[in-house]
Amino acid sequence: MEKPRSELSLILRGVARDPLGLMGLIIVGTIIFCALFAVWLVPYDPIAMNIKDRLQGPSLNHLLGTDQLGRDTFSRVIMGGQVALKVALPAVFGAMAIGLTLGMIAGYGPKWLDNLLMLFFDTIRSFPTVMFALAVVALVGPSLETVVLVVMATSIPTYGRVARTQTLTLRNSEFILAERAMGASMTRILGVHMLPNIIGVLAVLAAMDIPTVIALEAGLSFLGLGVKPPTPSWGALLKDGYSLIRQTPWLVVGGGLPIILATLGFTFLGESLRDVVDPKLRKNR
């Protein structure tokens, strides 16, 4: 199948044509690049302590200075990006896959199943995410996996509801009726005909959701409930910087700036993606 690839390149080209989208693409690309090659990019071991050089300002040796244990902040920022993506990507794509499946079943299946799944979605949605996360972390202890699972569980309903609404709109459309009249089975209708119509919307939603998850991981780490020290995370950097703000502002900058940039980058990308994928604007491509 060559088709999806050319489709993808068309979409990327569309995003790059939009200035904000291009900016988002550059930021997100940089973050992903840094995360992928973090091991080779970092000038120092991000968890190696060097008490002699603690709490330094930026210099050529340490681009963003060092923290209270003499660890290189720049290395920790780059490694932190890897942690952020390690949480955000599995959580968002896991939630998307599960939400999509459940949502399509709810939208296409019998009414009682729809009601049951909607009840399930609403129950999950009624927990405030942060509170739920705090409760789970308090129960099983902080770890990267816990954060991923909590974020995934709490964002399933968002994807599920969107997928369900799309399915409900599509199931009565004439082309789906035509497919049924041509003898297509339920799995064929859902998998071959509905999925490509829904996936674009969900992909946009996922792109917009990634910064939220990054911020949530940072927030949990800031509270000391995210990833365990000494693993570097942007939230943990902020936390350390917060208590040391009078000695050096560079930890807060090192932790805060990437969060802001990642949020902006993914949001720009998501919004631009939404405009490009929107079927109403498709013909302009």
């Binding site: 004439e174 082309f175 035509a178 009249a181 041509m182 003898g183 071959v192 079927p279």
Partner: protein, 325 residues
């Protein structure tokens, strides 16, 4: 005598609504023989769409089959389960829908869709693609190989309807249901599409159930005609008999109202006064009584669909001894 393919016998279909049962189809009986084109005419809301969805059993959840049978090759479709129906749809029975702008998946290329509907075939993908291209060529789409990679929005309405015809005929069905296939197209295209459909029909020798309210097309294309009014068959017979010697007042009025039949220039086009009766609250007697100029006391009883000549049936007391009085 050719073999009967589709036999609709005394079919009664209701819709359960909050206002009570809506009697969408009542005592529908007609048949379609192998390789024959049967036209169904009637104004909007006369039950044409209900009839099609009943044959395919793709009805709304509130549909109730009250009585009768729909026999396809001698087998009653109403007794079939979903699985048996699915094996018939798109292989033995195919359908072309009214609005070509809506019947294709907007995000899949035409080629992908045409390959997908051959899902019953075990052939390799390249072969399926070749079959698809051959069908596109057969319906008169130039450069079919290249056009397979295009998306529905890159085709015009007429092209899309040709593609729909190609898709419907790809499995060489025994019965093709054409649900007003040219209503959404302009008049010049209509002629082309009808001619192409007729050619392919002769080639494949499949039976066609052609639903339309365009009498000119029906007269041109069909062997036999079934005239429906408010969920009932009022007249059926040979196309010549129906158009030259209609035996039901409704058929007569319908032909009089056809713009193609009007000889004199008039400021106002002729219409049939009155409205189709409320199907949830049926009037007694002949269904057309309220709008019929010739109605008499006898019309208080429902007239039977009775044979007048060989194969020509009409449900009107005028054809009986003693007339309407």
């Amino acid at each position: 005598m050719t073999e009967t393919l589709l036999e609709i016998d005394n079919l009664g279909v209701d819709y359960e609504t909050a206002r009570g049962d809506l009697k969408a189809l009542r005592d529908i009986s007609f048949d379609v023989k192998k390789g024959e084109i049967v036209g169904i005419v009637g104004e909007s809301g006369c039950g044409k769409s209900t009839l099609i969805s009943s044959i395919l059993k793709l009805t709304a959840p509130n549909t109730r089959f009250r009585n009768g049978e729909v026999r396809f090759k001698g087998q009653d479709l109403l007794q079939n389960n979903e699985r048996q129906m699915r094996s018939l749809r798109g292989s033995d029975i195919s359908i072309i829908f009214q609005d070509p702008m809506q019947t294709h998946n907007p995000v899949l290329s035409i080629g992908a869709q045409m390959v997908d509907i051959q899902h019953r075939s075990k052939a390799a993908k390249a072969d399926k693609r070749a079959t698809a291209a051959k069908m596109l060529a057969a319906v008169g789409i130039p450069d079919p190989e290249a056009r397979l990679d295009q998306f529905p929005h890159e085709f015009s309405g007429g092209m899309r309807q040709r593609i729909a015809i190609a898709m419907a005929l790809m499995s060489e069905p025994d019965l093709l249901i054409a649900d007003e296939p040219t209503t959404a197209l302009d008049a010049t295209l209509e002629v082309q599409i009808i001619e192409r459909l007729h050619e392919l029909q002769r080639e494949m020798h499949c039976a066609v159930l052609f639903i339309s309210h365009h009498l000119g097309v029906i007269a041109e294309l069909c062997d036999r005609v079934v005239v429906m009014y408010a969920g009932a068959v009022v007249e059926s017979g040979d196309v010549r008999a129906i158009f030259h010697d209609p035996k039901h007042p409704y058929t007569r009025r319908l032909i009089d109202c056809d713009p193609g039949h009007i000889k004199e220039r008039a400021r106002v086009l002729p219409t049939i006064p009155g409205e189709v009766p409320d199907l949830a609250n049926l009037p007694t007697g002949c269904i057309f009584r309220d709008r019929c100029e010739q109605a008499g006391p006898r019309c208080a009883a429902v007239p039977p669909l009775a044979g007048i000549a060989d194969g020509h049936n009409a449900a009107c007391w005028l054809n009986h001894k003693g007339g309407v009085s």
